[in-house]
Amino acid sequence: MTGVLIFIVLALVAAAAAVAVTRTRVTLGLVASAPLAAMAIWTAFAAESDVLEGTPLTGSIGWLPTLGVSFDIHVDALSLVFLGLISTIGAAIAVYSAVYLTDLAKARRFLALLALFAAAMTGLVAVDNIYGLFVFWELTTITSYLLIGFEDRKGSARAAALQAVLTTGIGGLALLGGLVLLSQETATTSISQLVANPPTGTVGTVAIALILIGAFTKSAQVPFHSWLPGAMSAPTPASAYLHSATMVKAGIFLLFRLSPGFSTDPIWTPVVVTVGLITMVIGAWRALRQTDLKLLLAYSTVSQLGFITALTGTGSPAMLHAGLAVLVAHALFKSALFLTTGSIDAIAGTRDIRVLSGLGRRRPTLAAVGVLAAASMAGVPPLLGFVTKEAAFSALIDTGQWAALAVVAIASVATVAYSLRYLWGAFATKPPSPEADPKGFDAPVAPMGLVLPPLVLGVAGAVTGLFPGLVNRFVSAFQPGKLPLIPGWKPALAVSAVVVAAGVLVHWHRDRVGRTQDRVGSLTRRLPSGDRAYRGAVALLNRVADRTTGLVQSGSLPVYLSTILVATVSVPAVAWFSSGSSVDLHPLSVSVGEIALAALVITAAVAVTRAPSRMVAVLLLGAVGYAIAGIFVIYAAPDLALTLLLVETITVAIFAFVLTKVPRRFEQERSRFFGRFRAVLALGVGGFVTAASIIASRQRSGPSDSEIYAELAPTAGGSNVVNVILTDFRALDTLGEITVLAVAAIGITVLVRGLRSEPGEGT
């Protein structure tokens, strides 16, 4: 069974590649939607197995067992719910997109990304391994980045994609940190085992906090929500998929997964419930003010996500049951609404409430779809939105969460109001306004492909509302609970009635409400908001990057060298002398000749630094070399002395050749301060070398390796030991060395003669 699922995921990946070469729109839609349709069928079959009785489908593909990373497949009721949504809504959207995107090249690219995204999402909900989950989590981040920035010629789309990827990316890293902590604390990487034996103590709490950051960023919870409205710059089918059924639901999925076990942690319930409720209210409040239908839906999504998040907070079965039911309803009506909005955009050329007028009469089918979906969102019976919201109210009432109930009810009033606002804004015939643009009225009839998919999704919301058992079969297998169409005369029904009535009232007085909102808005403008925080953080990051880089990357060679020398000498010096090595200056066997030559070397070296002209400096350098050759003689190194004499002679000659081209006198160095610093640094480096050499050579406890050389040299056929070392014992060094010389010769030729020449070539 899971083998088939793996095959379907691979088929999605293959489809992503296949659509790139597909030539017609029809095959495009088919290729992209076929694997998703297959997955929907698979889900239906899986539901007939023991999954809903509590026996998950399992399987495994290993990847990095050393690190605990594998793709352990674990499909249970929760997975099935998500798989069902991913596949059915995905298939509908794939068909829709093939029609919606009129440019064939764009449609190809879009459907390829959509297929990859669906594959990632499928993996995300089907694995049991925390790292496996993380892999798919990040894949959804990447693919959603590409989808959000799909209209990449627009700067706003690029900026929105960046905001989304940064926000969810930071969340992803927090999640990774949390997961690693968790696996090290509990010695398991299996999610089901983690839920069975949740972590305890401070480390557990820290891990959970990090995981929650990951879930909240992904699910657009306050204060990380602001990327979601921005993500509306994606093509509408992408919004429909990402923000109804999939990407944002990934975080929610994680909450559902972990809540049964992790809600025992002291921070889980307060944090999740609070964040969820705040998000619900803020989203609803913002949704009421929007004039762009799509943005209205975006804030509505934020609000609904907050609602569902809050329901996962306590970990009680009833709440989780209701939460998952709400999630299903939301996926259906929100995708229908997004697709409807896309069709409106395609027909009328605008999504602006202030411009649209009279569309309902001209496009009754589309309007009907809109009404069906928006009514479900508002919680009007007998739609799935109503049934599930009733379940949520009941759960809140039964567990005595009165404060939460009050907040949810208030936000629900706003939900009803903005649902009406959506319908009124999209379809009502309004008095002519200055912004109104009549051109939209003559738009061509929308092809069936633009109406059918949302219609199917909208009808699905109605059918499942009438027969909630279809949904509850899955949901109650996750957590036990009932989902009746007719709840009976319970308090929850009264709450629903009040909420709907109040919502209608709010819409009725929309102008007054709007003015109040503007007043509050002007008061809260100064308050920190997620969006401003994001902008501020990016600006700060860029400023810090410029400052730091400007500081360290001065571009000046003397500064670089000073830093390098200070660091390279001071680090070992501190390590050396802090551990108390004593300098031992005992028996010194020094010859007079050595002292005299040393004095000569030092005098010449100091004189070089003071040389007024280049030629003098070079000659003094030669003098240093000759004097050192003398030291070599004292140190019984005739080969060295000979070599150095010849090298110095030729070097001075080369210098002389080059200097004929360069001004004779040295130009004045600029900074005096730097001159003094230079002297101090030079003395420091030199002092380190002297001290280190003396101390290191006092450390020798045994003879060197060379003792053997004297004995072996004759057997190697030579009596000049140094030469035997160079040509025999250590001939590899010499081989390397002549390679250096040959390469240097190549370099000289290139530098002097330019490229088109062989080394040494010349006439």
């Binding site: 290993g62 990095l64 067992p65 050393t66 690190l67 790292y131 892999v135 990040e138 894949l139 980045y145 990449d152 010629r153 690029r158 994609a161 960046l162 930071i170 890293l173 690693v180 902590l181 990057a545 410029d546 730091t548 400007g550 360290v552 060679l557 670089y560 060298l561 830093t563 390098i564 390279t568 680090v571 070992p572 390590a575 802090s578 551990s579 090595s581 070398v689 101390i695 290191a696 050579s697 450390q699 045994g702 060197s704 390796d705 053997i708 072996l712 025999d728 014992f729 250590r730 060094d733 390397g736 390679t739 040959a742 390469v743 190549i746 370099g747 530098l751 490229l755 062989e758 080394p759």
Partner: protein, 485 residues
């Protein structure tokens, strides 16, 4: 097997000689490609052999160490050889495919193989002075390659590069002198043994001197400034192979000497601080840049921090993670620069201000860029993720929360600057300068290395296992003995 190990050094040297005397470019290309391919095959053979059995030790010239020079191929060296010869082959194919690199510079192949010989010798040598010689071969070749076009920008940047390189060489030589003064040997294994008799201060002093000297080559904080000024000015194949290999040879030398000569029994706070600063300052530098190759150059530095961090834990897991990370970086960093080169080829510029919309004009470049960039940012399921996850786990096991947190922070900044390149150069309306379709051979060479990077991710588990065994060898020092084979 000892013959195969010897050939790894000999083959590129033969190629240097042949490339200098062969009269026609076509012949040079053929010999060059053949030698590079041979090295690749040989290095894979060595890797398989050492991983299956003992380390291979070669007594060069028939003289056993410490009389002669010892070449040692253990798992770490084997991995580095295999991955570096892959990168060398890929870049050579790109350069030959590009045609103007070696067409304009007849000695390109000789110099390139000198570089390859230096790199191979650095990985294989068991002798401190031969390591110096190996560095000199590699660096001198790099000096020549970076001056390649000898225009004003190259000459200026080469000055910084060469002078810093020579200062490091001088300090390295002084370090060798100090080490020989204290121990009387330059054979690394012998030296490790004798350093036990040296007082702790001297040992620490020499140890940190080597750390810093190799740190200049590895471009750690605060020794990296030369790198972003010099690398981007070279031609693409040269920058790519520098980026992929040279700093990693520095890291290799650090890991080799620190684990063998100056082992630490616990996490080194100093190294971890350096690691953290290297990651953060490097990535901040990348964010400040507006040119693809400069952005990538700063990323080289930032990523070095991760490797040093793995070393700093001084645990098998940490070291194994560092090794995996190095292997991944060699390929990915090379690929990134090659892709940057493709963008430059197609548009004539790598400035994000001056090029956009590559995705729409030449989608193949975008397809090559994405997996490499995501890998660089450490996102799953690409190769960078394997190393990053291993590092994070090792860090948490070692209780080093702070530096791991810093590394995670740096990786989101890496993602940020990758999106900057993507959104800047690949997205947007195509600019009018996008007129030259990059050659097939260049695309194929780049694609081949992308495939290798994907393969590294796919084969992450066996790689981790080899790296773990390599790390055990390094930390217990058990694998190699003097003169043994």
């Amino acid at each position: 097997m000892t013959t195969v190990v010897s050939l790894l050094v000999a083959v590129p040297l033969v190629a240097v000689g042949l490339a200098l005397v062969l009269p026609s470019l076509a012949l040079r290309r053929a010999v060059s490609m053949a030698a590079s391919l041979a090295s690749l095959v040989l290095s894979v053979i060595v890797l398989v052999s050492v991983d299956g059995g003992d380390a291979i030790s070669v007594a060069v010239g028939g003289w056993t160490a410490p009389i002669g020079i010892q070449l040692v191929a253990d798992r770490f060296a084997g991995l580095m050889l295999a991955v570096s010869s892959t990168a060398l082959f890929g870049v050579l194919a790109y350069a030959v495919g590009q045609r103007d690199t070696d067409d304009a510079f007849p000695a390109f192949h000789a110099t390139y193989h000198a570089l390859a010989a230096g790199v191979a010798l650095a990985f294989l040598t068991g002798d401190l002075f031969t390591l110096f010689v190996a560095f000199e071969i590699m660096l001198t070749a790099s000096y020549v390659l970076i001056t390649h076009r000898s225009e004003a920008a190259q000459v200026r940047s080469t000055m910084t590069y060469v002078v810093v390189g020579l200062v490091a060489s001088g300090l390295f030589l002084i370090g060798i002198g100090l080490a020989y003064a204290a121990t009387g040997t330059v054979n690394l294994i012998e030296m490790a043994d004798r350093l036990g008799d040296v007082d702790s201060g001297t040992r620490a002093g020499i140890g940190w001197l080597f750390f810093m000297v190799f740190g200049i080559k590895a471009a750690i904080f605060p020794l990296f400034f030369w790198l972003p000024d010099s690398y981007p000015t070279a031609v693409t194949p040269v920058t790519a192979i520098f980026a992929g290999l040279l700093t990693k040879v520095g890291v290799y030398a650090i890991v080799r000497t620190q684990t063998l000569l100056f082992p630490s029994d616990g996490p080194s706070t100093f190294i971890l601080i350096i690691a953290g600063l290297t990651m953060v300052i490097g990535v901040l530098g990348a964010i400040a840049q507006g040119d693809i190759k400069r952005i990538l150059s700063f990323h080289i530095i930032s990523q070095i921090g991760y490797m040093i961090m793995g070393l700093g834990f001084f645990t098998v897991a940490g070291l194994a993670a560092a090794i995996v990370f190095i292997v991944h970086q060699v390929i990915v960093k090379t690929v990134m620069f090659l892709v940057g080169g493709l963008v430059e080829t197609s548009s004539g510029t790598g400035r994000l201000r001056d090029v956009s919309g590559v995705l729409h004009r030449y989608p193949v470049i975008a397809v090559l860029f994405l997996p490499a960039a995501l890998s660089l940012a450490g996102l799953p399921p690409f190769s960078g993720f394997v190393g990053k996850l291993a590092l994070v786990q090792a860090g948490f096991s070692a209780g080093q929360w702070i530096v791991v947190g810093v590394s995670l922070f740096a990786s989101i900044l890496t993602l940020f600057s990758m999106t900057k390149i993507w959104a800047g150069a690949f997205w947007g309306s195509p600019t009018t300068n996008l007129t030259r379709r990059p050659g097939r051979a260049m695309v194929a060479a780049t694609g081949g290395l992308v495939a290798v990077s994907l393969f590294i991710a796919f084969a992450g588990q066996p790689l981790l296992e080899v790296a773990t065994r390599a790390a055990q060898d390094l930390l217990t020092g058990g694998a190699v003995t003097i003169g043994g084979s």
